[in-house]
Structures are given as structure tokens and as C-alpha cells.
Symmetry: C2
Subunit: 157 residues, 2 copies
DNA sequence: GTCGATTGTATCGCGCGCGATAGATATTCG
DNA sequence: CGAATATCTATCGCGCGCGATACAATCGAC
């Protein structure tokens, strides 16, 4: 096995095995946890978890109240994940869940007044995280596109 | 200014909002789930989850049985995550957990014979995932280093 | 219209993942 | 030495995240 660009510590690793530090999948795995931790101090002031913040972001960006299925496709999460999460946000008074009159199978998710108003209180967060990332905007955008491409390819396979 | 005058109007707030698809954090978040899904068919033949596979990878790469704390630092996971996970792997017969004689606070994690032998059955997986990623090896290594840099910066801040 | 298939949500069980905390062992300092 | 302090692991509660499953509403073929 050939040496990689950032080899593991030879003091603690066996030469023939690939350590987590060498793996692309681990870099993503650990980066997501670090990202969640970076958001935590900002979000806990709002009483939100990181996945809840993503759902709220989707709702803030939506032109009309989406269905559970639309959120599921956009966020790539199963209904078994979204339904309890949405119920918690509903209990917090941030959104409402209503069966669609046209198609009673679907559930429309609409922001409440309080849910809309929370958007303003999140406006500064992205900038804080970007600064903390130590990367330029161009680097971040390029990284986002590369990671999105990887994700889409993995989903197709 | 005029926008904040009507913050609850979805017709005016939607265009200014950053959707999850625009965010670096979401690309990572969704890529990790896609990665876990890509590994799933391979790993469930071995009876492993994806985090369990990462722990096993760390153990395969280690020269000597690490402590829980060493695994915690390497994988960037809390003991509250690792302890139950390690107990499950111990129940499966893949490793042993023994208090260190030198320092009774520490717990040494050692692979069993079965645990060692499992490594061979995972040898093909990385290649399958790399192929499925649709990216070249150089691209993957560059991506790994960029993501690791982002993670390390976020951890420092 | 009726029956079968499909679609959209919800429920359940299990494995993370972490903050808060507890408890035991080691270390440091007086 | 002995007490305060630090370190290491484990426990608990809660929120994801998903596969499997259930169930109701809709659609399609006839």
C-alpha cells in the first residue's frame, strides 16, 4: 500500500491498514459532527437542534408550504425522521401540520408567525461559521459543489 | 429595511432565504447520509453498522490495543458514544474490553481473532465506494484534505 | 363503480451522538 | 502521609436517522 498525502501517525498505526484519518468517508463523518458543534452555541439560543435548523431553512426558502414528501426529497430524509421532528417544531409553535384538502394523503407544513420571525434571528449564523471555517468563500463554494457531486453520485449508484 | 417591515410574508422572505441546497453544511450533512447508505449493503453482510466499521478500521490500523480515550480522540467521538458501541462489538465477539493494569481508569480495546479476521472481508469495500463516487483518486484525496482542513478549523474555533 | 396497485404519512425498534453527570482511579500539593 | 484536583470511563435522557411495517387515500384498469 502506498503512502497517502497525509499519512497516519506511524507510531500508532500498522503500515498495511488504512486508518480512519486516511479515509474520505471519515473526513466527511467527522466534519459533520464538527459542523454540528460549531452551530450548537448559536442554535441553542433559539432552542433549535441542527436538523431542526435545516428544516426551518427549507421552510424559509420555500415559496409555498411544502408537503412532508417535498421536504423529504429536498433534505433526503425519510418520513420516519421528519414526522417526529416536525411534530416537535409544531409543539414549539414554529409551524403547523395540516392535511391537504386536495389530497388527504399529504400533509402541508406551514410556518407560523413565530416561525417566520425566527429567520431574522438566524441571519448572522452563516457568516460566523464561514469565518470559523478558515476558508475563503470561493473555497467553500467549490467544496460544496464537490461534496454535492460526490453525494449525488453515491445516491445514483 | 423594507423586507424587515413584512418579515412574515412568504412572498417577500422566500427570495432572500438561503435554501439547504446552497449551504456547505447541508452538502456535508446529506453526503454523510449518502455515504452511510452506500456502505450499508457491504457492511450488513458483515453485521456491522457504519460507525462500527470506523471503530474496527481504527483497531485494524492500530499497532497496539488502544484505550477508549485514544479511540475517542482519533474518531472524535465521546465516551458516551463509544462505550455502548464497543460493548456491542464485544458482544459480537470482535473485541475485548479490559482495564489497564498500569492505570485502572483506562480500558484497553483489543481485537479478538474473529475481529482480526474480519479485516480481510472488508478489503474490497473502499474500492467499490471509490468507484461509485464517480471521482478520481486524486479528486477524492484532495476532497478529503479540504474537508479535514474545514473540520480542524471548526474544531479550533 | 370495483378491485388491485400505488402513493403519502405515520409508527416502531434499534443504533448512534452528545451534554450532563457520576464514580472510580491517579496525580499533585501541602 | 492525606486532601484537593485531575483524568478516565460509564450512565442517563433525548433527538435524530433509518429499515420495516401499517394504514389510509388516490389512481388505474376494467
Amino acid at each position: 500500500m502506498t503512502r497517502t498525502a497525509t499519512p497516519s501517525d506511524p507510531e500508532t498505526t500498522a503500515p498495511q491498514a488504512l486508518s480512519p484519518q486516511d479515509m474520505v468517508c471519515f473526513s466527511l463523518y467527522s466534519a459533520v459532527h464538527a459542523m454540528s458543534q460549531a452551530y450548537r452555541p448559536h442554535l441553542e439560543k433559539l432552542g433549535l437542534t441542527y436538523p431542526q435548523y435545516l428544516v426551518m431553512s427549507a421552510l424559509w426558502a420555500a415559496k409555498a408550504p411544502p408537503t412532508v414528501g417535498m421536504l423529504s426529497r429536498q433534505l433526503q430524509l425519510e418520513s420516519s425522521t421528519l414526522t417526529p421532528l416536525l411534530k416537535r417544531l409544531e409543539t414549539m409553535g414554529l409551524l403547523t401540520r395540516r392535511r391537504d384538502a386536495e389530497d388527504e394523503r399529504q400533509v402541508r407544513i406551514a410556518l407560523t408567525e413565530e416561525g417566520h420571525q425566527m429567520q431574522g434571528r438566524t441571519a448572522h449564523i452563516a457568516g460566523c461559521i464561514a469565518e470559523q471555517s478558515g476558508m475563503s468563500v470561493d473555497e467553500l463554494l467549490a467544496l460544496r459543489d464537490q461534496v454535492s457531486r460526490l453525494r449525488d453520485n453515491l445516491r445514483k449508484g
